[in-house]
């Protein structure tokens, strides 16, 4: 299941946006992206900002949907510093809006 798959940039590739609430400290990002990179699962987009008093952060990830996504979410949920994972559909406005800076 965790076989190495090439990133698929084909049109029609379905994307998913994941919204994570995490503890805000050095290392959280490595724990999360490490789960993807060691499975050769590309993270297409990342946004991260502290929220509230800065004790926690919110991370937004866009990833291509494939058969491993459910397993990825369960792995993320197991991380000690991840408080919550929420799955959105493609084209979430947070990436649409940030997209302006990439034009």
């Amino acid at each position: 299941m965790n076989s190495i798959t090439k990133t698929n940039h084909e049109p029609g590739q379905v994307q998913t946006v994941l919204e994570l609430a995490v503890n805000n400290h050095a290392g959280v990002m490595s724990h999360i992206v490490g789960l993807f990179s060691r499975r050769a699962y590309n993270v297409e987009g990342i946004l991260c900002m502290p929220v509230g008093n800065g004790k926690t952060s919110r991370i937004w990830l866009t990833v291509n949907e494939d058969a491993r996504l459910e397993q990825m979410i369960r792995q993320i949920e197991k991380l000690e510093d991840v408080l919550d994972v929420h799955r959105h559909g493609a084209g979430h406005e947070v990436f649409e809006r940030v997209g302006e800076f990439f034009r």
Binding site: M1, G27, S30, Q71, R74, K78
Partner: protein, 560 residues
């Protein structure tokens, strides 16, 4: 928090006190510059004994041996840089086998991190993928939270290794401590879904040909007795993974022993016929399942595991139950009907009779199976059996009559040569009343041979049984079977005199090759306390059979 009088303590003293409060009484490790403040504090402890190992990997596996034998969290220590990198293999091994362990490493002072300072390595980064969780500690005060949390995480849910990296300045930092946190303990287990348990019970009650499939989680959660009870009540033939051996006594009428790559024919064939597979604390490892699509092709699956990410990872379960297996089995039991299942048990009985595990030479102590049986005949179930990795490991897994959970210490997931000796030493120190036997190979023993010194120093009751085939036997076997007999780099041209080596380290020795009465000699050697090195030559052409080729279906067994 407990109120005490205020004390001014260094970070190191804080850690020592927290470890004492945690109930830790022994820590293997090796000192070095970046962890010397901690060693200085440890030297003042009246409760904790330090075991000076000869390699940090030895320290990691000694901690594992203690944790595997007792089920409790164990601790190991290393300095920064090479000390930490030497620990990595033992940490990764603990991760794959879900062993609760806390590794504490020294780190260069905070101000020097990131400068390529002497003996600086990114221990935190290196251990992310091989720990359950890890910490790089920023201040002495943080230790009051981090240390108990490390123990709680290591022991809770699916157990695993946790690493705490402590910079030298944090070890030296003085803080005032007036209250101590509660020791970190296993979290209460989550309530499992009652509906799923009810559906699972109904499936078991309706099944015609069910099989119970036990994994290491059964041992970790202390659910061996419940597993046997369930099997007996519902007449479930039972298979075990390498990690679960001992959960059901191998000579129990319902036991089919180990499944998978080196399982008996009858075991893999019974799985082929089952209509319901009840997986308990098992993770469908490829060594157990063979080609997954052909594993239990006609079966519905009930999968019980504390780790939700194991459910549906390899095989989609018809009923997946996330929960502590002991608790779930406890709730499942009253809902499962007593059932004699005569047809299925008689079919399994036929399979057992027609294709049992073949153990040629079982009565001759100069053969692999016969040697293992002769050792077993000298011991009772209180003995602990450790192994290294290779043919000898698989022969022992097949032939040793394991009957007790926590009796069996073997590196399953990572399959690490060099595991056996230090794990055996760690177990022997944790449970000094037991005899600990380590079956090893001439390849594996050399990978942590230096720990013979630690064992002699500590006078542990460890008996190494070296099965010497002058080769990396399992590699030799695979090249023979699957690579056109092109034997390459698996035969040793020079073989050391292991008995002289052991003697040099201060061990008692026995050469079975020259013993005129090998059984009597074994019995004598195993009954004397203290470290003893027993040497036996094995023909390098002996094979572990049956064998499923890597990637093949379990029904396609070779030999046996």
């Amino acid at each position: 928090m407990n109120k005490d009088t205020t004390e001014t303590l260094t970070g190191s003293q804080v850690v020592v006190r927290l470890l004492e409060r945690q109930g830790i009484r022994r820590i293997p490790g090796i000192p070095g510059g970046a962890i010397l403040p901690f060693y200085d504090a440890l030297s003042q402890s009246k409760l904790i004994e330090h075991v000076l190992t000869r390699h940090e990997q030895g320290a990691g596996f000694m901690a594992q041996g203690a944790a595997r034998a007792t089920g409790e969290v164990a601790v190991c220590l290393a300095t920064s840089g090479p000390g930490a990198t030497n620990l990595l293999t033992a940490i990764a091994d603990a991760k794959l086998d879900s062993i609760p362990m806390v590794a504490i490493t020294g780190q260069v002072p905070t101000s020097m991190i990131g400068t390529d300072a002497f003996q600086e390595v990114d221990t935190y980064g290196l251990t992310i993928p091989i720990t359950k969780h890890n910490f790089l500690v920023g201040s002495a005060r943080e230790l009051l939270e981090v240390i108990p949390k490390a123990f709680r995480l290591a022991a809770s849910g699916r157990p695993g290794p946790v690493l705490v990296d402590i910079p030298k300045d944090v070890q030296n930092e003085r803080i005032e401590v007036s209250e101590w946190p509660e020791p970190g303990r296993r979290d209460p287990v989550p309530e499992a879904d009652a509906d799923s348990i009810e559906r699972a019970a109904a499936m078991i009650n309706e099944a015609q040909r069910p099989i119970l499939y036990l994994g290491g989680g059964v041992v970790h959660s202390g659910a061996a007795a419940q597993s046997v009870e369930l099997a007996e009540k519902a007449s479930l033939p039972t298979v075990m993974t390498l990690m679960a051996l001992g959960a059901m006594p191998v000579d129990h009428a319902l036991s089919l022993g180990m499944l998978g790559m080196h399982g008996a024919r009858c075991t893999n064939l019974a799985l082929e016929e089952c209509d319901l597979l009840i997986a308990v604390g098992a993770r469908f490892d490829d060594r157990a399942t063979g080609k997954v699509s052909a594993f239990c092709p006609n079966a519905k699956i009930i999968h019980i595991d504390i780790d939700r990410s194991e459910l549906d990872k390899i095989k989609t379960a018809h009923v997946g139950i996330r929960g502590d297996v002991k608790q779930v089995l406890g709730k499942l039991l009253p809902q499962v009907k007593s059932n004699l299942r005569q047809d299925w048990l008689s079919r399994v009985g036929d399979l057992k009779a027609s294709c049992p595990l073949q153990m040629p030479g079982i009565d001759d102590p100069r053969t692999p199976y016969g040697l293992i049986r002769a050792v077993a005949d000298c011991l009772d179930d209180s003995a602990i059996i450790a192994t290294d990795v290779g043919q000898h490991q698989m022969w022992v897994a097949q032939a040793y009559p394991l009957r007790r959970p926590h009796q069996w210490l073997t590196s399953g997931g990572l399959g690490t040569m060099g595991f056996g000796l230090p794990a055996a030493i760690g177990a022997a120190m944790a449970q000094p009343e037991r005899t600990v036997v380590c079956f090893s190979g001439d390849g594996s023993i050399l990978m942590n041979i230096q720990e013979l010194a630690t064992a002699a120093e500590e006078g542990v009751n460890v008996k190494v049984v070296l099965m010497n085939n002058a080769s990396l036997g399992l590699v030799f076997q695979q090249q023979t079977m699957f690579y056109g007999q092109r034997i390459f780099s698996s035969k040793f041209k020079g073989v050391p005199d292991f008995l002289k080596i052991a003697e040099g380290f201060g061990w008692q020795t026995l050469d079975l090759d020259t013993a005129s009465e090998p059984k009597a000699a074994l019995a004598a050697a195993l009954s004397v306390r203290g470290p003893t090195f027993i040497h036996a030559s094995i023909d390098r052409h002996e094979q572990v059979l049956p064998m499923v080729a890597p990637g093949a279906a379990n029904k396609d067994m070779i030999g046996g």
